[in-house]
Amino acid sequence: MTSLLAPSDDALLRDAACGDEPAFSMLYARHQPAIYRFAVRLTGSEAAAADVTQDVFLALIARRLSFDRRKGDLAMYLLGVARQIVRRRFRRESRHVQLSDLPQPETRDPAQKRDRDPIQLAIVTQHERVLLMRRAILSLPLRYREVVVLCHLHGLTYAQAAAVIGCRIGTVRSRTHRALRLLENKLRPFDRTVPVDIRRPGGCLA
């Protein structure tokens, strides 16, 4: 029944439903990173993501470790539950956390950057771009944010994302297209000239 390599989700669910704690722990370890990352990217808060992750698995326990298999496999189902919980949180919270706008390009000081070590500058700039991208994703409307996170950060197909969201594939495709255009517009002021130059051998930073 149980594979020698790794037990399937179904086998773990079956064992966990009979009270097998190690099976449930394995199930949790297998799926919590994706749920947590999804929630972090949607909420922008690690504390909120921890709450969402907890609520998702408690909901699974409350359903006696069963789920509607018509909505896909367990991973898709859990992501769908996480999405609903996040949306419910946004609706319930009267005071939303205001996401700060992206920093203005003028605030960057290229002269100060030139004084740094080029390799260090490349690392910092890469990290800055990751931060910028995260903030840009967070600044998207939720319906666009979720498709970007699902399709481009979690690597889901349009069909899988549609199953998580509960909409048509065409809707996911159009939202993703629109979301990427919005991200491009938000990130366009932050050009990549500095990192490109320093990667080039003999690149001039002065």
Binding site: C18, E21, F24, Q54, F57, A62, R64, L132, H152
Partner: protein, 154 residues
């Protein structure tokens, strides 16, 4: 220009994905969930396989008896309707270590919201999936909580 932007975008998204690869929920979340799992197991929400088979058979037997009883009742006299069993949510559950002495201690009841994990650790299994559940707590004159009951799911 759009293609160039798409490449940049793809690269930045890949960088975010790469940095996120090792991110996971903090250990406190797992501890709370395992507590919830144990509480559900203790409250009977989960059963071992043999017990589940036995309970299935028992439910089938009870169902057959009820159906038979109803058929018998319809043929004979109109039987009085049995009162509904008390819902678990309507009963106060004594908190661990608390004693309830109605003759010497005057109690007050306050309404609060309690984290689901706390209720599950007490052996209560509130319906729904909300993290906060409206509950009533019975508090003694000394300010110590004696018992709790779930009101409803928000």
């Amino acid at each position: 220009m759009i293609d160039q932007c798409s490449d940049d975008l793809r690269e930045d998204l890949a960088a975010v994905r790469s940095e996120d690869a090792s991110v996971g929920a903090p250990p406190t979340v797992e501890a709370a969930i395992i507590d919830g799992f144990r509480a559900a197991r203790l409250s009977g929400a989960m059963q071992s396989a043999p017990r589940r088979i036995c309970s299935t058979l028992a439910i089938a037997a009870v169902t057959a008896a009820i159906v038979g009883g109803l058929a018998y009742g319809q043929r004979h006299t109109q039987r009085p309707r049995m009162p509904r069993p008390t819902d678990q949510r309507e009963r106060f559950v004594l908190l661990p270590g608390a004693t309830l002495d109605a003759s010497t201690d005057e109690q007050i009841v306050i309404e609060i919201t309690v984290p689901r994990t706390v209720l599950m650790s007490l052996g209560l299994a509130p319906s729904g999936s909300q993290s906060q559940v409206a509950s009533q707590v019975m508090v003694g004159q000394d300010g110590i909580a004696r018992a709790i009951r779930v009101l409803r799911s928000e």
